[in-house]
Amino acid sequence: MNKKNEKLLIPFIAIILGILVGCIILIISGKSVNGLLVGLLKGLTGFDIYKPHLGFNLRYPGEFLVSAMPIMLTGLAVGFAYRCGMFNIGAEGQVIMGSLAVTMLAILVPMPKGIGAIVCLIVGALAGALWAFIPGLLKHKFNISEVVSGIMLNYTAMYGANYFLKILPGTNNQRTVDIPSSTKLGSSFLASLTGNSRFHWGFIVVIICVIAYWFIIEKTSFGFSLRATGFNKEGARYAGIKVDKSIILSIMISGALAGLAGAIVVQGTFGYGRVMTAADNYGFDGISVALVGSSNALGILFSGMLFALLKVSQPLLQINGIPREIGEIISSSIVFFVAIQHAIKYILSKLESKKHKSMVNSKGGTSK
């Protein structure tokens, strides 16, 4: 099998297997598979098969996009680092730091309309990048795995951010005051287009990032050096690439993308900062998105949609009598199947050689 097909085929098979696992679990527990499909369709398009007369309710696709946007960004974040050979499990913390920076800036510093939102986005990205700099530096200086330091920094970020959010004026136990409208990304125009969903201008940020990701990775000399480092560090060093610099820079860019995700969640989805008792998992969703999307821009775009759909349909499923965790089960199974792609490849090659054999056999048979 050729390499390119395999790259597409494996995530595809993993997705099918994941959905299959979900269906089997539903069937075993006596729930309707149909309900799952109906729920997913409605979550995506707003069309309810049971109530066709209502047509398409655009709020659903709107909310679907709202939840797709941050995980596409974190997917890009994880993917970017992955392309350079780093596993940025710390994206969660970088999202939180992005959110924190944006919230503090927006609440404490008055800014004019128009510029405010953009300044906040930039600061969110910077905060994420700086937080990501820590595991990058630790890896470079002390050879500490970015996975372990990333996990520890996730929790540090969460508790640290809560502390700072709580000392902001007006914060109660769950949330800060609203950020000024000059810094918000929400728009009544977009809301009215999508049946009052929370759809917001953050989608432009996402589109820009997807294109920039694709462009940087595939088209620039910088991306070339990152990819070389990711595939083969020693080979990159031989070629004259400054591997250490690539590593730190790539995880910082990764952090910036995660920070942006945090920023658009605050500026767009919620409009205020949240004191969190448990993480939102945007960063962890990003890992799934990047893995299933093979860390390339288009792949991340699509897998981001897939995971967002599984997430956003959950209340719908629950209301329709299907435990909403089925979405989580399906998405984590998909990641699991991607993780064991070695086995999938093996089975595929077995199948292929079998097919080959049986073809040869049948040929032999007919010639007689």
Partner: protein, 334 residues
């Protein structure tokens, strides 16, 4: 009836077509079995459903995190539910937002006020009931000479603050030199934290703890049961049964009862009858929306019960005014 027994169907099956009303209830991160106000709210609703034979038409959703509030409320509104119930003041933003977007849907908002006219807000003067259980705590503290009592809140804020305030005043009214420990679990769902804070207070010599912390408060009951020689005061519902230990006695001294079930029952009935109107419903001692559980033959003597009832009458009569503003800071004592 066990709450889970009756929820089974509602939870797992799609509500039947042809319901005359559809009612959805959204809990905060506590569930409908929190032995506290989520459960109470759900019980009011199930009672309504049973009486009207509408068991198939009520449903609930539990929120996993704050991020779920809006999607869960909108979920029901979008699905055309006639009444959507938001249990808890934490839903303030969510209710404010969603109720405006769905003017044709009726909302019941428990524990806080929202201004849209399709929202019925049920507000409870919890400080009044809390005052009464405070009296009970003070009496016990004098009796066992510890003169130390405790309060454990869920999250700091106006709502739980009113519980604390009433309790403080009640304790001090009978035991002016009592020391009151105040702690907050920073969560309504972290039972482990509740238990640890209770262990701290009991360890310091506190003999009674009043918990107003949802599921986290159940940790207090657990610690009290482990110790056996201390009291806990229940909240929202009568928690006497949950406090039973091996020998059949209960460590629940009394409970501050908050009749959330009345508001869900009322709102549901009004929706069914087509008489639902937005606005604020106030529940206090006078309409028995709040109060202390004072059944005799439990852990309070009849004299004590009588004494507490005396205070209740004074509050109803207005001779005692109970403030809803606490004075003791989280993590400290008076």
């Amino acid at each position: 009836s066990s709450p889970t027994g009756s929820t089974d169907n509602n939870q797992t099956d799609k509500p039947a077509e042809g319901c005359s009303v559809l009612i959805g209830l959204v809990t905060d991160t506590g569930g409908v079995d929190d032995k506290s106000f989520n459960q109470s709210a759900w019980e009011g609703l199930t009672q309504f459903a049973e009486e009207n034979n509408l068991q198939e038409c009520i449903q609930y959703l539990q929120s996993d995190s704050e991020a779920d509030y809006i999607p869960n409320l909108t979920g029901y509104a979008e699905e055309g539910y006639d009444l959507v119930i938001a249990v808890g003041y934490l839903f303030q933003d969510a209710v404010d937002t969603v109720s405006v977007q769905y003017p044709d849907t009726n909302f019941l908002f428990i524990d806080s006020e929202s201004l849209s006219d399709n929202v019925m807000s049920a507000v409870y003067n919890a400080e009044q009931g809390s005052y009464l259980v405070g009296v009970a705590a003070g009496l016990k503290a004098i009796e066992n000479e510890s003169k130390m009592v405790g309060f454990l809140g869920g999250m700091e804020g106006d709502l739980i603050g009113s519980f604390q305030a009433g309790y403080e005043q009640g304790v001090l009214s009978v035991c002016p030199d009592c020391v009151i420990y105040v702690d907050y679990a920073d969560s309504f769902s972290d039972d482990a934290k509740g238990q640890q804070l209770a262990a701290k207070q009991y360890g310091a010599g506190v003999s009674v703890i009043y918990q107003a912390a949802g599921t986290a408060g159940n940790g207090v009951n657990k610690e009290a049961k482990e110790r056996g020689d201390v009291w806990a005061i229940g909240v929202d519902k009568d928690q006497y049964e949950d406090g039973k230990v091996a020998d059949g006695s209960s460590i629940i001294l009394t409970s501050m009862v908050k009749r959330v079930d009345i508001s869900t029952y009322t709102a549901a009935t009004e929706v069914l009858n087509g008489t639902f109107e937005g606005g604020v419903m106030i529940f206090d001692l006078t309409n028995e929306g709040v109060g202390a559980e004072l059944s005799s033959g439990r852990n309070l003597t009849d004299e004590e019960i009588a004494q507490i009832q005396g205070y209740a009458d004074d509050i109803k009569a207005g001779t005692i005014k109970v403030s809803a503003v606490p004075t003791i800071a989280n993590g400290s004592t008076n």
